[in-house]
Symmetry: C2
Subunit: 448 residues, 2 copies
């Protein structure tokens, strides 16, 4: 099965999708409209369904109150012809980009409204238009947010339209980045309150990619049902306390693109994504004092160690009886103060990532590895011992340089570094929102 | 970090835990009581908290209405002394088993009631007793269910107490089992409606294992918010339609242990666990007719192809106009008819399992693998293309032999085999429920 299950495609579909890009490039938005006509009659969302609007000045999934589940993924455009193997020209790549973003826009808009996604492109008519996986499920505040990576603009011959602040995140001291979840030309964030609708939405988006783009990585996160309280991360601390409030001038400055950006990017933003692995055993066996001093806040209620409550301004000058600052200068809070960004992070717990060794004789009872005492000492790590959990750090900001400057400081001296490890990194320009009938790539591709 | 983050322990804790097992073996349940006394004063669960009872004739998490999230994991007892490296005697192994199950029982009972788990064993007093991750979260119908694998009984010198039907599941044609999620001596199922409380509960259980047992595998699944409807699996079909109804004689026969089992096992059951990978792209590009004939049911409403509604009895003799049976003899439904078991399966979507290659120069934008056209053909699979999603098949039954007999038939001729692949397998005896003050191992260890 592994030959076919990796990416979402049929050979027929992949070739047809690619072949169709020439027409798509010529007709512009026509395929979007066509897709809509061919779709089954809209099934109105049920009364009480919780919907997030897809259209607007900004994309959904940014100012949206955080949903319980998130899926993040990056794709790269195909570089060669699916049959001939020839390297694609820039024009062919643009056509593929247009076709893909059209398919994604239509599917995302319909799914977030609680409608079926429309027909699978280039599938035989007898093939169901939808997987049925979310039949009887509400959209549960589903949002889909798209982004464009630094390398995309050269690929599609639009270097001149590249947002000014879109450059790869540099490496930092202590980074342990893995290709498996770093970088990418096209980005998708799917959020919602029902994991099954999130999974189904991403499956639909994948099914639009064959022949056009290839999945590079995906990551999934969750938040507990914290209601109006700030969600807690896996170190037990509230995460996102200092976020600017939506609708304030401070928020707009921190998040939405500056005036010096290309006109098509007005209303856009940037996303910095970091996969941060947490050493939970080490944290859990540290004292409360160490934990709180590392963060600079009290875990129980999130108040700064200088006093007050969660939302009190930290007093970095305030000293304790020993003459030392209550909030240590190398605590996490002291180093990240006043960074203008909207944190929208999720926890992840991927469990135990064991070896994928086949069971030799199909008799696993006998094969179970009981006798690992010798070759697998208690205190060793390695693949067999890898428990992977932590934080999918997501921050929207008008200038990713703010992240870079802060992370450089953190990488040098943050006390938290003893407990965490950055294993993934990516940055994307998040285009502005769309009007009905418009697709993700329209503004960019019509920019001169 | 990988040296320490794999398993949940501190070196100090691991050694102390092991050393304490001698005392634990002598004093029996004393540590349970001790753990309770040392815990912080119980914090009553809030009004409206949804709790599932921990105590009873049967363990929770079996007849419990299926929660939204599940985590499954298996551990093996340590085989060697954490410091000296000597092979453990049977007496030492029993002591470790007792100590571990005491820790687990106390923590599970407290967490399901919405209380903190009690102090981390052998931690310094300054170490917080709990991670704080679920502060302000309700238990959300948390349940913890424990099981014992076939090899455990010899390990603890209790071959005579082994449930009669507990033997390893044999290999079947087409199996692609991997050690990474097969077998195991001790089993834990954690279910709940909040993924963060499930994650935290499992973290607590892990923290009780160092020095005593080692995590072998973990798996996580979900269900959409289907309410009273049968949940749909990732093929879009309702899954669990033919389950016996709780409280009927049919259910009791299908699930609870037979009269010929050892007395201590009365009220127990067996769990068969299979990790079943689904080829979603292949399924999604198959026609509706192929999909429905493969299952023998109509996807839209789950009705058998012989007619009626979801819960209508399939008529395997009924023929269509072409003289062929409406439900094909090699459809999934025709082959699994009348198997007495309680299916309690969960969907899984682990996303894209990419290569874990390090980013070479910490400049991931540049390193992103754009030029994979030549060495990574569009239609190939392999690690780089591996999207892992499917079903965590869980079935409780009084006789796992029923599963084996059915699976043998399925492995030979089920039409579904074209779309699925079994990659994990395990079977466990699920001990009966506990009374207050009792721990998981008491009944077994007091059996002669």
């Amino acid at each position: 099965m592994s030959e076919e299950s990796g990416q979402h495609f049929s050979r027929r579909g992949a070739i047809a999708a690619f072949a169709a890009t020439a027409g798509a490039a010529a007709t512009g938005g026509a395929l979007v409209a066509g897709g809509r006509e061919a779709a089954p009659a809209p099934r109105p969302a049920r009364a009480g369904a919780r919907l997030e609007p897809f259209h607007g000045a900004h994309q959904a999934g940014i100012t949206t109150a955080q949903q319980r589940y998130a899926l993040f993924a990056a794709f790269n455009l195909e570089t060669t012809h699916p049959v001939k193997g020839e390297r694609l020209s820039t024009e062919q790549t643009v056509a593929a980009f247009r076709r893909l973003t059209e398919g994604w826009t239509v599917a995302a808009e319909r799914l977030t409204r609680g409608l079926p996604p429309g027909p699978m492109p280039f599938a035989r008519p007898e093939v169901p238009a939808d997987s049925g996986v979310a039949d009887d499920l509400e959209p549960s505040r589903l949002t889909v947010t798209f982004g464009l990576g630094p390398d995309l603009f050269e690929r599609i011959g639009r270097e001149g339209a590249r947002p000014r602040r879109l450059t790869p995140i540099p490496g930092f001291r202590g980074d342990r980045l893995e290709k498996a979840w770093s970088g990418g030309e096209l980005f998708v964030q799917v959020c919602g309150d029902d994991l099954q609708t999130v999974s189904r939405a991403f499956r639909t988006l994948r099914s639009r990619a064959p022949g056009l783009a290839r999945l590079q990585w995906s990551q999934q996160g969750f938040l507990g049902a914290f209601g109006d309280a700030t969600p807690r991360n896996l170190f037990g601390h509230p995460d996102g306390t200092t976020n600017p409030r939506v609708g304030t001038a401070e928020f707009d400055r921190a998040v939405w693109s500056d005036a010096d950006e290309p006109a098509w990017f007005s209303g856009g933003t940037y996303l910095v994504f970091r996969k941060i692995r947490m050493n939970l055993p080490k944290w859990d066996t540290s004292t409360a004092l160490t934990q709180d001093r590392t963060i600079g806040r009290r875990r129980s209620d999130g108040a700064p160690l200088s006093g007050g409550h969660e939302f009190s301004e930290p007093d970095f000058g305030k000293k304790g009886p020993d003459g030392e600052p209550l909030i240590l200068a190398d605590s996490h809070v002291a180093l990240v103060r006043d960074v203008p960004m909207l944190r929208r992070s999720y926890n992840y717990d991927y469990g135990f990532q064991g070896n994928r060794e086949p069971v030799a004789d199909h008799h696993h009872g006998k094969d179970a590895d009981h006798d690992h005492g010798d070759d697998m000492p208690v205190h060793s790590g390695g693949g067999h011992d890898a428990y992977d959990s932590g934080l999918l750090f997501c921050a929207y900001m008008s200038d990713p340089g703010e992240f870079v400057r802060t992370q450089r400081k953190l990488a040098e001296s943050d006390r938290l570094n003893a407990f965490i490890e950055h294993t993934g990194s990516a940055v994307f320009a998040i285009p502005p929102g769309m009007r009905p009938g418009e697709n993700l790539a329209d503004a960019l591709l019509s920019a001169t």
